[in-house]
C-alpha cells in the first residue's frame, strides 16, 4: 500500500510536470492532422531555423567537449595558480541568467563595445550574426562535460596511467588508450547534456541574435516568433521538432551505452 502510494506520487509528479506539457505540444501540433504541421515546419524560414540550430550545436558541442575534457584533467591532475578560480568559473554559466550572458556579449562585441570596433575593423560581425550566437551557446553549455568528467577522473586515480607509462606508453598514448576509455561514459553523458542545452538555448541567443527571420533565427526563436504571430500550428510543430531532437539525443545515448557501464 505504502509502496503504491509512493510510486503513484512519483509518477503523478512526473506526469504533471514533464509528460503533460510535452503531450499537449504534440497534440496541439497535430490537431489539424499531419499535413498542416508538415507544411509549417517545411517553410523556408522554419528550415533555416532548423539548420541554424543544428549548425550552432555542431560547433558548440565539439568545442565544449574538447575544452571540458582538457579543463577537467587540469582541475583534477595539475597544480597551477588560480585553480580554485578556474574551478569556480566553470560553474558560472549555471548560475548566471542566459539573458545577462546575452547582454554581456552585446556590450563586449556590439557597436561601441570593448572589442566591438576591433572586430568590425577586421570585417567580422559578431552580434546579430552567427559568431555571437555560437559564442553565447558555448558559454551557456560549457559546464556539463567538465562537471561529468571531474568526479570520474578523481575516482580512477593515476595508477593505471602510471602503469601505462612504465610499459612504454607516451603521455599521448596513455591518454588515448587509458584515460579516455576510462572516462568515455562521463564524456558521453556530458555531451548529451551539452547538446540538449545547446539545442534548447533561448535567452542568451535571443539577445545576441537580433531575431532576423530567416537569418539569425534558431528553432527556439522561431517557436516564439510563430507564437507571437498567432501561428499556433507553426509554433507547436516547430516545438515538436525541437522535442524530437532532444529525445533523439537521449536515445542515442542509451543505445550507445552498454548495460554494464556504470558512471
Amino acid at each position: 500500500m505504502h509502496r503504491w502510494l509512493l510510486r503513484g506520487l512519483g509518477l503523478g509528479y512526473l506526469a504533471m510536470l514533464l509528460a503533460a506539457p510535452v503531450g499537449v505540444v504534440f497534440w496541439r501540433a497535430f490537431e489539424h492532422g499531419i499535413g498542416p504541421a508538415w507544411d509549417a515546419v517545411t517553410t523556408p524560414d522554419a528550415r533555416h531555423a532548423f539548420y541554424l540550430t543544428v549548425l550552432i550545436a555542431a560547433i558548440a558541442v565539439p568545442a565544449n567537449t574538447v575544452f571540458g575534457v582538457v579543463c577537467a584533467i587540469a582541475i583534477v591532475r595539475r597544480r597551477f595558480p588560480g585553480k580554485g578560480i578556474v574551478n569556480a568559473l566553470v560553474d558560472l554559466p549555471l548560475a548566471l541568467s542566459p539573458v545577462v550572458v546575452g547582454l554581456a556579449f552585446l556590450l563586449l562585441y556590439g557597436r561601441g563595445g570593448w572589442f566591438g570596433s576591433w572586430v568590425s575593423d577586421h570585417g567580422i560581425q559578431v552580434v546579430f550574426a552567427l559568431p555571437g550566437m555560437v559564442l553565447a551557446t558555448i558559454f551557456v553549455s560549457l559546464p556539463f562535460v567538465v562537471r561529468e568528467v571531474v568526479p570520474v577522473l578523481r575516482e580512477i586515480g593515476t595508477e593505471q596511467e602510471q602503469a601505462a607509462s612504465t610499459l612504454g606508453a607516451s603521455p599521448l598514448q596513455t591518454f588515448a588508450r587509458i584515460t579516455l576509455p576510462s572516462i568515455r561514459w562521463a564524456v558521453a553523458y556530458g555531451v548529451v547534456l551539452t547538446t540538449a542545452r545547446a539545442l534548447g538555448e533561448f535567452g542568451a541567443v535571443s539577445v545576441v541574435s537580433g531575431h532576423i527571420v530567416g537569418k539569425t533565427e534558431t528553432l527556439t526563436l522561431h517557436v516564439e516568433e510563430r507564437y507571437q504571430s498567432f501561428d499556433y500550428v507553426g509554433a507547436y510543430a516547430a516545438a515538436v521538432v525541437l522535442a524530437m531532437l532532444a529525445i533523439g539525443t537521449l536515445l542515442a545515448m542509451s543505445v550507445f551505452r552498454p548495460k554494464e557501464a556504470t558512471r
Binding site: E159, S165, T166, Q173
Partner: protein
C-alpha cells in the same frame, strides 16, 4: 651492477622521504627494500622507475644514467600494490598492452601473451575482465603485463600488500620460483620482514629516508649493525643496553651464577616452539622461545619459577 642509485635525495614539502640514499643491486638478484611505513622504500622504488623525480642524485640502470629519463624510456617493469589493472581491457589485452605500444607484429604478440599467461597460470582466464578476477589473479596478471616487455629490471611495490595472508604466502613462494625461472633483476618493497627474509637474496633495510643496513637475510639477522636493525629484523628482548633474541635465552631449573630468577607469566604454544613470557625479580619483562620438548622437560607453566641466562647478547654504541 644492474641498478645503482647514487646519493638520491627526495623531499615532499618539508618532509624528507629520501636522505642521500645509495644502493647497488646485482644483476639477476632479488632484492627487498624493507622498512616501516614512511621509511622511503616506496619512494626509492618510484625514483628508480622514473615515476618520481629525485631532487638530487643519480639513477643508473645497466650502467646508463637514466635520472632525467621518463618512465617509458627506462625499460622497467613496475607492479603496483593495488594492481593498477586496466579495467576496460581483458586479461589478454592487459598483458599485450606494452607489446602493442611497441608495435610488435600481431602473431608475435599473441604467442608471447599466451606464453606469459601460461607462466602466471592464467591461461584459462584470458578473456575475463579484471573485475572478474580475485586479488591474487589480478596481481599475477599485472606481473605478466610487466614481464611482457622484457624489462631490464622488475620493480614491485608491496606486491602482496593488499592480499590476504594465505594468498600472500602462496604468491611469495611462487614469486621466488618465478624469479629462479626468468632471472630478471628484481627489487620489491615490503614492510614485512618475514616476507623479505623468505624470498630476497639481498635486503636493504630502510628507516626514515636512510639505509640502515644492506645484506643477506642471515647477515641482517645475525649481525645487525645497530639497534634499529636488531629490533626490526626478528623478535628481540631488551635488557638495559643489551639486546637478546628470544631463542638465545636459556631456561634452567637451577641457578648457575650467571642466571637470574624469573616467574613464568604466560606460555604460548606456537606449534613446534613455545613462547614463554617471563618477569624477572626486578620487574623487567622478557620472553624466551624454546622447543616444546624443552618446555615439557622444564615443566614450565604459568606461575613457575625458572632461572634465565642470555646465551648471546648484543650492545650497540
Amino acid at each position: 651492477m644492474a641498478i645503482v642509485a647514487q646519493s638520491v635525495t627526495k623531499r615532499f614539502g618539508s618532509f624528507t622521504a629520501l636522505d642521500d640514499v645509495s644502493i647497488e643491486v646485482r644483476d639477476g638478484s632479488l632484492t627487498a627494500l624493507l622498512g616501516p611505513s614512511g621509511s622511503g622504500k616506496s619512494t626509492l622504488l618510484r625514483v628508480i622507475s622514473g615515476l618520481e623525480r629525485p631532487d638530487s642524485g643519480r639513477v643508473l640502470i645497466e650502467g646508463a644514467d637514466l635520472t632525467r629519463q621518463p618512465p617509458q624510456k627506462r625499460g622497467v617493469g613496475f607492479v603496483f600494490q593495488h594492481y593498477a589493472a586496466f579495467k576496460h581491457m581483458t586479461v589478454r589485452e592487459n598483458v599485450a598492452f606494452g607489446l602493442k605500444i611497441r608495435k610488435q607484429p600481431r602473431a608475435e604478440i599473441r604467442d608471447r601473451v599466451a606464453e606469459l599467461l601460461e607462466l602466471v597460470q592464467l591461461a584459462g582466464l584470458a578473456d575475463r575482465y579484471p573485475a572478474q578476477l580475485s586479488g591474487g589473479q589480478r596481481q599475477r596478471m599485472a606481473l605478466a603485463r610487466a614481464l611482457a616487455v622484457e624489462p631490464k629490471v622488475l620493480l614491485l611495490d608491496e606486491p602482496f600488500g593488499a592480499l590476504d595472508a594465505r594468498v600472500r604466502k602462496e604468491l611469495r613462494a611462487w614469486l621466488r620460483r618465478l624469479h629462479d625461472e626468468v632471472h630478471v633483476t628484481t627489487i620489491f618493497v615490503t614492510h614485512d620482514q618475514e616476507e623479505a627474509m623468505e624470498i630476497a637474496d639481498q635486503i636493504v633495510l630502510m628507516n626514515r629516508g636512510r639505509v640502515e643496513q644492506v645484506g643477506g637475510p642471515r647477515e641482517l639477522y645475525e649481525e645487525p649493525q645497530n639497534e634499529f636493525v636488531m629490533t626490526f629484523v626478528g623478535p628481540v628482548n631488551r635488557l638495559g643496553d643489551e639486546f637478546v633474541r628470544p631463542h638465545d635465552i636459556e631456561l634452567r631449573l637451577e641457578p648457575n651464577g650467571e642466571s637470574e630468577r624469573a616467574t613464568v607469566e604466560r606460555v604460548v604454544h606456537l606449534g613446534f616452539e613455545v613462547r614463554v613470557e617471563l618477569r624477572l625479580d626486578d620487574g623487567r619483562e622478557l620472553h624466551a622461545q624454546v622447543t616444546r620438548e624443552e618446555c615439557e622437560r622444564l615443566e614450565i607453566a604459568p606461575g613457575a619459577e625458572v632461572f634465565v641466562r642470555p646465551r648471546h647478547t648484543r650492545v650497540f654504541a
